[in-house]
């Protein structure tokens, strides 16, 4: 594949990639930026190579998902070590600042609160289908799970999300 075209593709879907990284990192912005940067470096270093079996987007989203998982694993290990040896954790995950919270719209806050109650896979498949507008098959490819499993997570996640949103509305009323 032409390198220029490849780079342009990555640049074109940068915002969508950031959105996906954000969801892979539990809406922690700094962590998402770091994951996205690492994913770009993987691509540019040749550590992640596009084999042409899927679309560039599906492939790159898979790279982001794996990078986020690696980062979370590293952070978990670091936390375990620091908890054991130094008692206090030096770099706890940053909470969203007041300005970030203020910028959030009501609809976003409600959705994120509802989605947070779903399992990680349910969150991811719903995000890929509704937010990124991928098919369930593409989502299963990004998540590296079978189509049947992706469909199950999609259906259960959707049902549960609706229930939570209805409960939230009832509470507001």
């Amino acid at each position: 594949m032409d390198r220029t075209y490849f780079r342009e593709e990555l640049e074109r879907m940068h915002a969508a990639s950031f959105g996906w990284a954000l969801w892979c990192c539990g809406q922690r912005r700094e962590e998402a930026e770091e994951v996205l940067q690492s994913a770009y470096l993987k691509v540019l270093d040749g550590a992640a190579t596009f084999d042409g079996r899927s679309s560039v987007r599906t492939w790159f989203f898979g790279v982001i998902r794996r990078t986020a998982a690696e980062q979370q694993r590293r952070q978990w290990i670091r936390r375990q070590l620091f908890d054991r040896w130094l008692v206090s954790e030096p770099d706890a995950l940053p909470e969203p600042g007041p300005e970030a919270l203020a910028c959030e719209s009501e609809i976003r806050r409600n959705l994120l609160r509802a989605v947070a109650e779903l399992s990680t896979r349910q969150q991811q498949v719903l995000h890929l289908v509704f937010y990124q507008e991928l098919t369930i098959e593409e989502a299963s490819s990004v998540m590296n799970i079978s189509l049947g499993t992706a469909r199950t997570h999609f259906d259960r996640g959707k049902r549960r999300l609706r229930e939570i949103l209805v409960e939230q509305e009832a509470h507001h009323v």
């Binding site: 390198r3 490849f6 780079r7 990555l10 640049e11 940068h14 915002a15 969508a16 950031f18 959105g19 954000l22 912005r29 930026e33 996205l36 940067q37 770009y40 470096l41 540019l44 270093d45 040749g46 550590a47 910028c103 959030e104 719209s105 609809i107 976003r108 959705l111 994120l112 719903l126 995000h127 289908v129 509704f130 937010y131 507008e133 098919t135 369930i136 098959e137 189509l147 469909r151 959707k158 999300l161 609706r162 949103l165």
Partner: protein, 139 residues
């Protein structure tokens, strides 16, 4: 499965997520590195890593070459006789052998033969031959 598999019932969720997407797209940071580096970035970086590795390796080798003769001289200097080959196992004695020496040990080593007792008393040899006496059983 295509997007059409999602029923119209999902319209509400689509709207929710679309609203969130619009917000997050606006919050996306500028693209960090793609505009700064070409796709050959990694190819330039790999020789850099190799150069660092080669430098480290050369430093280690140079340090080894520098230190090794000094260590060898120090090792040889610790020998009592420089250049002497190691003693064979039959003549070798452990360095801590002196600890086994007990006071009066030399007396035990110097006890004369019982048969040579008389000869030892008369060193001039008058009236006696230098022939060693036979051992006798004392009453």
């Amino acid at each position: 499965m295509s997007n059409d598999d999602r029923t119209n019932d999902d319209h509400d969720l689509h709207e929710y997520f679309a609203a969130v997407r619009r917000e997050e797209v606006a919050l996306a940071p500028p693209i960090p590195i793609l505009s700064l580096t070409a796709c050959g970035h990694g190819r330039r970086q790999l020789p850099g890593k190799l150069a660092v590795g080669a430098t480290c390796l050369a430093t280690v080798i140079a340090a080894a070459v520098w230190l090794l003769p000094g260590l060898r001289v120090a090792h040889e200097g610790s020998n009592p006789v420089r250049g002497q080959t190691d003693a064979s196992i039959t003549s070798w004695k452990p360095a801590t052998d002196f600890l086994l020496d007990t006071p009066g040990r030399e007396l035990l080593e110097g006890v004369p033969d019982i048969g040579g007792w008389h000869g030892a008393l008369n060193p001039s040899g008058h009236g006696e031959s230098n022939r060693p006496l036979k051992k006798r059983i004392l009453p």
